[in-house]
């Protein structure tokens, strides 16, 4: 496990709003990492209301991601409905795409996780929360392959257990925890992290 965490990615599907509120609610103001989130939502409904809703339940600013947006620590970025959200390979900015849905989902968790794994390698924590499908498993596997940390919500405590179960089956997950514990783990990871600008490679 790396001590120099650089970012957190979270994927959630059905039951995800409440789960996210609990996890994000544990993160203190001054949290040292960017948090990038894909939540499956119907394309027509949009995500317009979500940043406000989640923002009221946590101490960090929550905003909808836009194309080429630079990443800042202590900010939560939500994928907009109808777009895949990706991390550029330098790990400094986000991009969007309208490629075909993956697992019928756009945004897809796999797309975010795979791009973030490439960008942050062992500096990444990936978290799979409640959901009724398989999205995120391939992405979490990729995160592990590139040296990152994988966390999954305990299926027994999840509103929908299929997605956590699929993730646990796909790779050697580091932690299977309840929502509050996941939040606490992240809070600790973000507290002892080096600032994301410090490049650990020559």
């Amino acid at each position: 496990m790396s001590d120099g965490f650089r970012a957190v990615v979270i994927g959630a599907s059905s039951g995800g709003v409440a789960a996210l509120a609990t996890v994000l609610g544990q993160l203190p103001a001054g949290f040292g990492l960017p948090v990038i989130v894909v939540l499956h939502v119907p394309e027509e409904g949009g995500t317009g209301y979500l940043p406000t809703l989640l923002g009221e339940r946590c101490s960090l600013p929550v905003r909808e991601a836009s194309d080429k947006l630079p990443l800042a620590p202590g900010t939560v970025y939500l994928a907009p409905a109808g777009y895949h959200l990706l991390v550029e390979r330098d790990g400094n900015s986000l991009s969007l795409s309208v490629d075909e849905p993956v697992h019928f989902a756009r945004p897809a968790i796999d797309v975010l996780f795979e791009s973030a794994a490439t960008a942050f390698a062992d500096g990444l924590v990936g978290v799979i929360l409640t959901g009724a499908n398989q999205d995120g498993s391939a992405g979490l596997k990729r995160i592990k392959e590139l040296g990152g940390t994988a966390m999954v919500q305990n299926p027994a405590s999840a509103a929908a257990e299929a997605m956590p179960r699929a993730a646990i089956a796909a790779t050697a997950v580091d932690q299977v925890l309840g929502l509050t514990e996941i939040g606490r783990f992240l809070a600790a990871a973000g507290a002892c992290s080096s600032p994301p600008t410090s490049d650990r490679r020559p």
């Binding site: 836009s66 194309d67 080429k68 907009p80 109808g82 777009y83 895949h84 990706l86 991390v87 550029e88 390979r89 991009s95 969007l96 795409s97 309208v98 490629d99 075909e100 797309v111 795979e114 791009s115 490439t118 960008a119 390698a121 590139l146 020559p202």
Partner: protein, 285 residues
């Protein structure tokens, strides 16, 4: 010697691949946004049953058919009729009154994919009564999708969604009056195509289009990195008449670009911008 991570090797291989494609094939993907490009390169490697990205280099250098397939895969042409209905509503309400003041209206639809956006625009112009004094230049670098756009034949299964989009776009008629359905296909009426010029144009390597009153380039710039976005936005700025309008996709913006100060936002949420008359920097190629 320093140890190389797998991701660093892949980044190097991708650089070499894009350089090879550019020099051998003339297509310049070097400044496409890497994150989504990586996904498609990965897919090409897997589909070809190859071990490394470098294996893809030799394949694409020597095998013309393989390169054509790769090219088709690189162009993400996912689109819709009246995609983002609120955008078309806003275009109608805010931009159309200005367009009507010009004696002749030239419109460039850049990155038109399979043409749904072009037909949507044509319908809007018809309903607003100035189609006959307009011309739409519809361009893309994908010849295969351009051929579909020219034909204007779409799966009937999509008509339901298109009709809903049309109805939410402030339209004044019935969507059914613009196509002819036969079996599982719907063919757009020829009259919609009359003032449309479809042509092959690569935004990265081809030249300026003269004196446009309106440019639509939606969901294309997200595939470019910031440097290429800037270059293409400068191309648009040089192609727009003073006071002309530029429309970007729902999640695209001028905010981080080098041309931001040459535009005013006409509709912030819908990303409609107007080229400012004053203090414009003339760029002559």
């Amino acid at each position: 010697m320093a140890e190389w991570k797998q991701t660093e090797l892949e980044a190097l291989e991708t650089d070499l691949l894009l350089e090879a494609i550019f020099r051998r094939r003339g297509y310049d993907f070097r400044h496409y946004a890497r994150a989504s490009l990586n996904r498609r390169v990965d897919q090409a490697v897997r589909r070809g049953n190859l071990a490394h990205i470098t294996d893809l280099i030799s394949l694409l250098l020597y095998d013309d058919a393989a390169f054509e397939r790769f090219l088709a895969q690189m162009s993400i042409s996912v689109t819709d009729m009246f995609r983002d209905p609120p955008f078309f509503l806003r275009l109608r309400e805010t931009v159309v009154p200005w367009l009507k003041t010009w004696p002749f209206v030239k419109i460039w639809c850049a990155g038109c994919a399979t043409g749904e956006e072009v037909y949507s625009l044509a319908i809007l112009l018809k309903e607003e009564g100035f189609y006959d004094r307009s011309r739409i230049y519809a361009t893309d670098y994908n010849r295969r999708t351009l051929a579909v756009a020219r034909e204007g034949i779409y799966p009937a299964a999509k008509i339901k969604k298109y009709t809903a989009n049309y109805n939410n776009s402030g339209a004044g008629d019935s969507f059914a009056s613009y196509y002819h359905a036969k079996y599982d296909r719907a063919k757009m009426h020829d009259g919609l195509r009359q003032n449309v010029v479809f042509s092959h144009h690569n935004l990265v390597t081809d030249a300026v289009f003269g004196e446009m009153n309106l440019i639509l380039c939606r969901n294309v710039l997200i595939y470019f990195d910031q440097e290429l976005q800037n270059r293409v936005l400068e191309l648009f700025t040089a192609s727009l008449c003073p006071g002309g309008f530029l429309c970007l996709g729902a999640k695209e913006s001028l905010q981080f670009s080098t041309v931001a100060d040459q535009y005013e936002a006409v509709a912030k949420k819908e990303n409609i911008f107007r080229r400012i008359y004053s203090h414009r920097k003339e760029r002559r190629p």
